[in-house]
Symmetry: C2
Subunit: 216 residues, 2 copies
DNA sequence: GATAAGATACCAACCGGTTGGTATTAACAA
DNA sequence: TTGTTAATACCAACCGGTTGGTATCTTATC
């Protein structure tokens, strides 16, 4: 076990602490309104540490988007929605999982990279692209289950395809977050996920059901 | 006819010019990254004029959200999607209208108040609420057509209702914008509106169709 | 002792906002 | 018609605090 120093925040974790601070503060205030001093104060480090690990504020923006990609992909990989043997059940369980993640605290369940993409799409292409990778690589993890469900159910989608539907999932989730923020009410996010659930059941020709009982 | 002064920007329109500047610049850079000087330069007025018309930058934020509400409601009121006599056709034509508004320039077709709501939801409640009014009052204009379509088609929605579906429309549109920004590609927005079209046709039990031909 | 990690002190530019003033217009009285 | 008053609209210069970023130094680790 590494011998801790006398200082409360241990040496070597300043970068991670700054990324966690950025994740939380940016989701609350947005990227532009978040100052470097904000992040240093939240992380409990000084400016010298910040610019030692990130060459600029924009570089931190890219890094925190990549950090988000790593942490969320780990979260979704180990999430229980993968357990059903029926691929369509996994797809529906994904929606249930996203729905179950919605809590009372809006900043807690909303998406960092969605916020980033919207804010910097025209001014910081590197941050925007890092956010784009996060969203679209996550969408790709859904494609396999959707494609398997298409195969297993023997349906033949014409105008849509698994990749398109996976992206539509992400759009719906992002839109759900915006309505929750605009109305300051998480129920608005749940409501739109219920419509998504209904749409998917239609595409695969299964009965509607009250989804609030079988989350995950 | 009022005699124009010697100055190029005529007297009395500074407020409108500032609101138009805010609409354009905020959609590009976001609210926090937009400086008062930015707006003054774009509008061709001085800071004195700015603070004569708006008591603070936040007050401008509220005013530009209200300005957006006024201009967009005027746009949608006179839009051609109201012409079909069948209410469901009007609902589908609304989606087609939204789809037809998507151009190559992302900042041009995306939604100011969606951007505002996401950025300031936790830090500027007054701006957030003004953005919320804009989104939800627009959703309400859809409710009548959706309800009329429900009546006319004799369907009996149980878990969803016209108000909920109208909000889902807005969530889907907002989500479409975020994906277009994240992927820097307007096609991503069109794609998700096609899924919405398909969902609505399902809810009302009508055949799918290639919607790209009958926009508006 | 070399290198990475972090602290301290500092800076020039920029930010939202204020100040004190001027130009224009409308209302009204003489 | 002219003069007065008041209110609105706008301008140029300025202010103090904040911003992202840097230079320099100290400390820990291999």
């Amino acid at each position: 076990m590494p011998r801790p120093t006398k200082h409360a925040p241990e040496r070597g974790d300043a970068r991670t602490r700054l990324l966690e601070a950025a994740r939380d503060v940016v989701r609350t205030k947005g990227f532009a309104a978040t100052t470097v001093d904000d992040l240093c104060k939240t992380a409990g480090v000084t400016k010298g540490a910040f610019f030692h690990h990130f060459k600029s504020k924009d570089a931190l923006g890219v890094a925190v988007a990549e950090f988000w990609t790593e942490t969320t992909s780990a979260l979704f990989e180990t999430a229980p929605y993968h357990t059903p043997t029926d691929p369509l059940d996994r797809v529906l369980a994904y929606i249930g999982f996203r729905r179950a993640m919605i809590t009372d605290d809006i900043t807690e369940f909303t998406c960092l990279v969605g916020t980033l993409a919207q804010e910097v799409h025209a001014t910081a292409p590197e941050i925007r692209d890092a956010a784009g990778v996060s969203i679209f690589s996550h969408a790709e993890t859904l494609e396999a289950d959707i494609a398997a469900a298409v195969d297993e159910r023997g349906i033949a989608p014409t105008v849509w395809n698994p990749a398109s539907l996976a992206r539509h999932f992400q759009a719906t989730v992002q839109g759900a977050f915006i309505l929750a923020k605009a109305g300051n009410n998480p129920d608005l996010a749940r409501e739109t996920l219920d419509h998504l659930d209904r749409y998917v059941r239609h595409l695969f020709g299964v009965q509607e059901s009250n989804i609030s009982g079988d989350l995950q």
